[in-house]
């Protein structure tokens, strides 16, 4: 055999061997490739279905196959392999034949000549996209799980509630920060141990173990309350829930628990209950009639006194419309006051007659104070009523007494006055001027006294509700004219001026309104110096007239302005102390105007004078 033959045979053999190797690589790999020694040129790549083929050498193979983000990684691995003349091996992303991104595990061996120089790289690569995606998904899931775990850790470690898990041998497999702190133990000392080993008293440990058994058996949560001493805070009360952790097979594999310290809540509940019991005892034991309403005005509580009064049980009373017990004359008035109080969310005050279980009416004085919810919103009223029947009867007796006394006082005055008048006639005939003057003065004093007695009578009748305003339509102009004539004839001490005005039709009690105007004029003359003016004006504006009486007298202090209309109130100072009166006149005026649905007030400046004003509704307008 010639050398050439031998050479040729060995080349054949080599080629054969190379082809066999390539066939082997092809059979086991998705991709085979050949690279120039410096990896600058890809000589050939057979990509199978994974990568597109490269038949002719190219120098832009990196752009063609390698994912842009992995370029650096690939460069580094290549440089390292070239430098060390060892196997290149890398997992990286590639551009697949279908244009999508895939993962490959690529290895290449350097082919060396006899001088030990690299003449070529021979590589094989496999498609690892499937595995890689699974791996990525797994990592993502793991990361998510880690994240969840961190989240739960944060939650369980941040809460003051105790959170823990038992396995089926009653051993703790988890305890949160709060529980470890409560125990005063570290994780290592506590986990894997049973209740008893973690410092629970035997009864307590046994109780929970039985409960764990029950949860495992029933697969249902258990809730309980337990009290035991805390290392630092003494005896505490805890509310706990054990919940089964059920696996895919439907079997309880663990028991998770949460425990909350409810000592403060319980304490507050106890305090509240005690306070409520205390107030209930107070309300129940009281002779005061106490009731409570909600924000709609419905009564939601009646105390014992109410039950006694009405002869009904609390349930009966709550279902019963208590306002049916109101006296017919007080029914409308009280309901109106009560409704207004609810609407305005304000306290109320009233007195009314209410029927007892015996069918007798008793007078009750009620004060309603406003109840509020903790957020400050209106919750209703608490009404406290007292029986004032005795007081009312006393008052009635007093009024009857005043009535009687006034009547008795007027009887001797009647004959006295008549005697004086007869005597005057006689002395007129005898021309005894001095006696005539004296008798005239006596007569004047008798009339003054009559006036005072009448005031008393008016007052007692007003209080017993006997003064009734009897409204009729009348002409205000005519009334003022009558008064004007009367005063022009009797008053010479002051300049009484009636300003002209446009007359109006008034719906009211002619006599009582005359009384009011007379009273105001007479007061004006009483509290101002002689020869000063007293002016009477009438202003007619929509729906009402305003009548005013103005003087230039002593005036009234600011603090007395509203009080002058109070009963028996008299302004006390040096200038007025010698002026007679009972403090009834203005009170009567105010009551009369009020009953007409009008207003009365005074404007005054000390030392300058006063103006009393009152209003009356004109015909066609509603008066109360």
């Amino acid at each position: 055999m010639s050398i050439e033959q031998q050479q040729g045979r060995s080349t054949d053999k080599l080629t054969q061997s190379e082809e066999r190797f390539r066939a082997l690589v092809n059979a086991t790999s998705d991709v085979v490739y050949r690279m120039s020694p410096d990896w600058g040129i890809m000589r050939q790549l057979t990509g199978g279905e994974f990568l597109s083929d490269t038949g002719e050498p190219i120098d832009n193979w990196m752009e063609k196959y390698i994912h842009p983000e992995d370029l650096d990684k690939v460069h580094i691995a290549i440089s390292e392999a070239i430098r060390t003349k060892t196997i290149f091996s890398l997992e990286h992303r590639v551009q697949r034949a279908d244009g999508s991104m895939g993962w490959t595990f690529s290895r290449a061996v350097p082919i060396l000549n006899e001088a030990g120089e690299i003449i070529e790289w021979f590589g094989a690569a496999n498609d690892v996209s499937g595995r890689k995606q699974t791996e990525l998904a797994l990592n993502a899931a793991k990361e998510l799980a880690e994240q969840q775990k961190r989240l739960y850790e944060t939650i369980t470690s941040g809460t003051p509630d105790l959170i823990y898990v038992f396995d089926l041998d009653y051993k703790f497999t988890y305890a949160n920060e709060a529980l470890l702190t409560m125990w005063g133990k570290s994780w290592e000392n506590a986990i894997g141990r049973k209740l008893l080993e973690n410092g629970y008293e035997p009864w307590h440990a046994e109780m929970h173990e039985r409960e764990i058994d029950t949860v495992v058996e029933t697969k249902k949560p258990i809730r309980g309350e337990v009290s035991f001493p805390h290392a630092q805070f003494g005896r505490r009360i805890y509310d706990y829930i054990f919940t089964p952790v059920i696996n895919e097979q439907g079997v309880v594999e663990a028991v998770a628990g949460t425990t909350r310290d409810i000592t403060e809540i319980r304490q507050a509940e106890i305090t509240l209950a005690e306070s409520e019991a205390r107030f209930r005892n107070m309300a129940e034991g009281s002779n005061i009639y106490i009731a409570m309403s909600d924000e709609t005005g419905k009564i939601i509580y009646f105390n014992q006194a109410w039950l006694k009064f009405t002869g009904k049980s609390e349930q009966e009373l709550l279902n019963f419309n208590w306002t049916d017990l109101l006296h017919p004359d007080d029914h409308e008035k009280h309901l109106s006051i009560y409704r207004d109080a609810i609407r305005a969310e304000l306290p109320f005050h009233d007195s009314y007659r209410l029927r007892t279980s015996d069918g007798e009416y008793r007078w009750l004085l009620v004060d309603g104070s406003v109840r509020r919810y903790s957020d400050g919103s209106f919750a209703g009223h608490i009404g406290a009523a007292v029986d004032i029947t005795g007081l009312k009867e006393d008052e009635q007796r007093k009024n009857d007494f005043i009535s009687m006394v006034s009547h008795e006082l007027k009887t001797p005055l009647t004959s006295t006055l008549a005697y004086i008048q007869l005597s005057k006639e006689r002395v007129s005939a005898s021309n005894d001027d001095l006696t005539h003057t004296m008798l005239t003065r006596t007569e004047k004093q008798i009339r003054k006294m009559t006036g005072m007695i009448n005031s008393f009578l008016n007052l007692s009748r007003l209080e017993s509700g006997k003064i009734q305003v009897e409204p009729v339509e009348f002409d205000l102009g005519a009334l003022i004219n009558e008064i004007r004539q009367e005063f022009m004839a009797t008053i010479s001490s002051h300049k009484v001026i009636f300003h002209p005005f446009e007359t109006a039709c008034i719906l009211g009690d002619h006599e009582k309104i005359a009384q009011v105007i007379q009273n105001l004029i007479s007061n004006a003359t009483k509290y101002s110096a002689k020869n000063t003016p007293v002016e009477i004006s009438v202003i007619n504006r929509d729906g009402e007239v305003e009548i005013s009486v103005e003087d230039k007298g002593v005036g009234i202090r600011q603090e007395d302005l509203t009080r002058v209309f109070e009963r028996f109130y008299r302004v006390h100072d040096f200038e007025t102390r010698n002026i007679s009166g009972f403090g009834i006149g203005l009170y009567l005026c105010a009551e009369i105007i009020k009953r007409h649905g009008g207003k009365i007030w005074v404007e005054s400046e000390l030392g300058k004078g006063s103006t009393f004003r009152f209003t009356l509704p004109v015909c066609g307008k509603k008066s109360s």
């Binding site: 009535s403 006034s406 009547h407 007027k410 009887t411 001797p412 005055l413 009647t414 004959s415 006295t416 006055l417 008549a418 005697y419 008048q421 007869l422 008798i446 009339r447 009559t450 009448n454 009578l457 008016n458 009748r461 006997k466």
Partner: protein, 123 residues
């Protein structure tokens, strides 16, 4: 001129006295303090006008007026009620009085009222 007859009933003797003194020159006056006797007096004396106090014991003035109004022979009688009570006017008019004068009264005013109701023209 023929004097008209005026019957006055008041339980207060002083008032009876002074009214008699005041009116005797104008009327033939009959005074009675006991209201229970008045119905008989009215039947026997047939006065032209009656002055009745309201607040009297045993038989009150308004009861007396009602009796007069119920009586066939006396029901047309002119009656003036007098009283110190402030509710007197209402009580009197409801009972059937023709007029009401409050105590203490003005003698002249009372006289004018009596004259006008008795149909006597003022001289």
């Amino acid at each position: 001129m023929h004097k008209k007859t005026l019957l006055i009933c008041d339980d207060d003797q002083d008032i009876l006295d002074v009214l008699e003194l005041a009116f005797k020159s104008h009327f033939h006056t009959i005074c009675e303090a006991d209201s229970l006797k008045v119905m008989d007096l009215l039947r026997t004396n047939r006065p032209d006008i009656v002055l009745v106090d309201l607040w009297m014991p045993f038989l009150s003035g308004d009861q007396l007026i009602r009796s007069i109004r119920r009586d066939e022979d006396l029901k047309e009688l002119r009656v003036i009620a007098i009283s110190a009570s402030q509710t007197g006017k209402k009580v009197a008019l409801t009972a059937g009085a023709d007029s009401f004068i409050a105590k203490p009264f003005d003698l002249d005013e009372l006289l004018m009222e009596i004259r006008s109701l008795s149909g006597e023209t003022v001289a």
